[in-house]
């Protein structure tokens, strides 16, 4: 096997390992963090600080009854939870885990797919995430689920525009779709969050809407729609939606860290010259940044009430979209003038 093939397998394993470890940790952080913010103990019986609670949750999901509603569309009903996992577990392929290093005279980039289309591939695969919600709600043959699906389709389209436009502004001065180039650009200059703070703000808000997290979780809005698109799902099929949501949060956080916070870069430290050690340390830095974003997701969830649907649309179309266009014009003018 060539160096590239072995490196590819190692990278795939590393990414999958990180992603699959994040999910149970996030379940614990969400439950204990929420408890902390609401001044209650939270799950604290199982293991120190309740750390084994995710294991108990997983056991419950596996052994619960798997219900198929009698009037549901069987094929699509069973397909939807699988669709929920595909975008979340495929988009990470374009995110660089560390600097490009040289092994036995070959340049090995630290991303699974060093494709020229880079971040576009991420956005394309992520945009397929809406289908699991839509298919789940429609196939359940339940009016609350259907309402959740309709909301999901309108919401995802609206916020994808602002998200994509803020990403375009990041790529403009870099001149490439590849995320390792974006990181190299930030290593040479400053982190993008400084010249593009408006774009960062838009990206962050749109990321909440894209992952259906509070205050934008209108597709499941339990106070109006029971549980929205996944009302009828139980056991492992419900857990698939759950895992898909946390995995999507993780990869979107990694994208945000790579685009705006320098990815694996830490100012003053030259990871690129350290070889494999540099990759490991760079990955640790990236994971630390992702962890901050994930905590922010939890923090916001337990701090803000849900928006109304008309407010959601107004924020997306009248707030975020004009802001992202202003940001794009500013970045375009600044790069033309040679400031960026």
């Amino acid at each position: 096997m060539s160096v590239q093939t072995i490196a590819m397998l190692v990278k795939l394993g590393a990414f999958l390992g990180i992603l699959l470890t994040t999910i149970p940790v996030m379940v614990w952080v969400e439950r204990r963090g929420g408890a902390m913010m609401q001044d209650r103990p939270g799950p604290n019986r199982l293991g120190p600080l309740g750390l084994f609670q995710p294991l108990a949750d997983a056991g419950k999901f596996i052994f619960k009854e798997d219900i198929l509603p009698s009037e549901a569309d069987r094929f699509l009903y069973l397909l939807a939870p699988v669709l929920a996992l595909i975008p979340a577990f495929s988009t990470y392929v374009v995110i660089p885990l560390g600097p490009t290093i040289e092994i036995q005279g070959e340049q090995v980039p630290m991303m699974v797919a060093p494709a020229e289309t880079g971040v576009l591939l991420f956005l394309a695969l992520a945009s397929l995430g809406v289908y699991s919600l839509v298919v789940a709600g429609w196939a359940s043959n339940n009016k609350y689920s259907l309402l959740g699906s309709i909301r999901a389709s309108a919401q995802m389209i609206s916020y994808e525009l602002a998200l994509t436009l803020s990403v375009v502004a990041v790529l403009l001065p870099v001149g490439s779709f590849r995320l390792d180039r974006v990181v190299e650009y930030q290593v040479d200059g400053v982190w993008n969050i400084i010249p593009q703070c408006i774009g960062f703000l838009v990206f962050l808000v749109a990321a909440f809407a894209e992952t259906n997290r509070l205050p934008f979780d209108l597709p499941e809005a339990e106070s109006e729609l029971v549980a929205g698109y996944h009302t009828e799902y139980s056991a492992m099929r419900f857990a698939c939606f759950f895992m898909g949501e946390y995995a999507a949060m993780t990869v979107l956080s990694a994208l945000a860290a790579t685009l705006y916070l320098g990815g694996w870069h830490l100012p003053g430290v030259d990871f690129a010259s350290m070889g494999i050690l540099g990759v490991v340390l760079g990955a640790a830095v990236l994971i630390a940044k992702v962890a901050c974003f994930l905590f922010f997701f939890v923090w916001v969830r337990w701090s803000f009430p849900r928006f109304r649907f008309d407010q959601l649309m107004a924020i997306g179309w009248k707030g975020l979209l004009p802001l992202s266009i202003i940001n794009l014009i500013w970045v375009a003018a600044a790069s033309l003038a040679g400031w960026l």
Binding site: A115, T117, L120, S127, L146, I150, E160
Partner: protein, 182 residues
Amino acid sequence: MELAIFLIFGALAVVSALVVVLHRDPVKSTLSLVVTLFATAVLFLLLGAPFIGVLQVLVYTGAIVVLFLFVVMLLNLQREARSEGGGRLQRIFAILAAAAFAAMTGLTVWRWTTGADLGALDEGFVSLNALAAELFDRFLLPFEIIGLLLLVAVVAAYVLAKRPDPSSGADPGADSSTEATR
């Protein structure tokens, strides 16, 4: 390997396209369209045009068909009753479209048998830089005109969808156009 991928996704594209046309449930038709577009995007990748393939998924699969689905679900369309034949105009256009498709397929097969090079597109034609240069240099005017056309379509859709406001009536232009569409 490449042949296997082509066969799988080519067959998938054809079968799902047939489902789009033949299935009587509008939601399932629309979902098959998603599969068709995705399979075609994979074929673009095989042809050496990754940018077009990714754009196809991003724009068509990820956005436009979601809007189709949104409208279909919002209108709560029922299973379509089997109609016999369709209109006369529809039949004429169907025959014309089928003839055009047959002519293009025949032309491709003819060129292949006469030994023309039908391999993957070269880098200078499909790379991002080349595409951008073509679009914003040689085809700048058509590109801008299409932008204007889309803007007109958006304004027209807005005027059509706007509810007539009985209390004001300050905008006679919009009112008369909504009247005309009824």
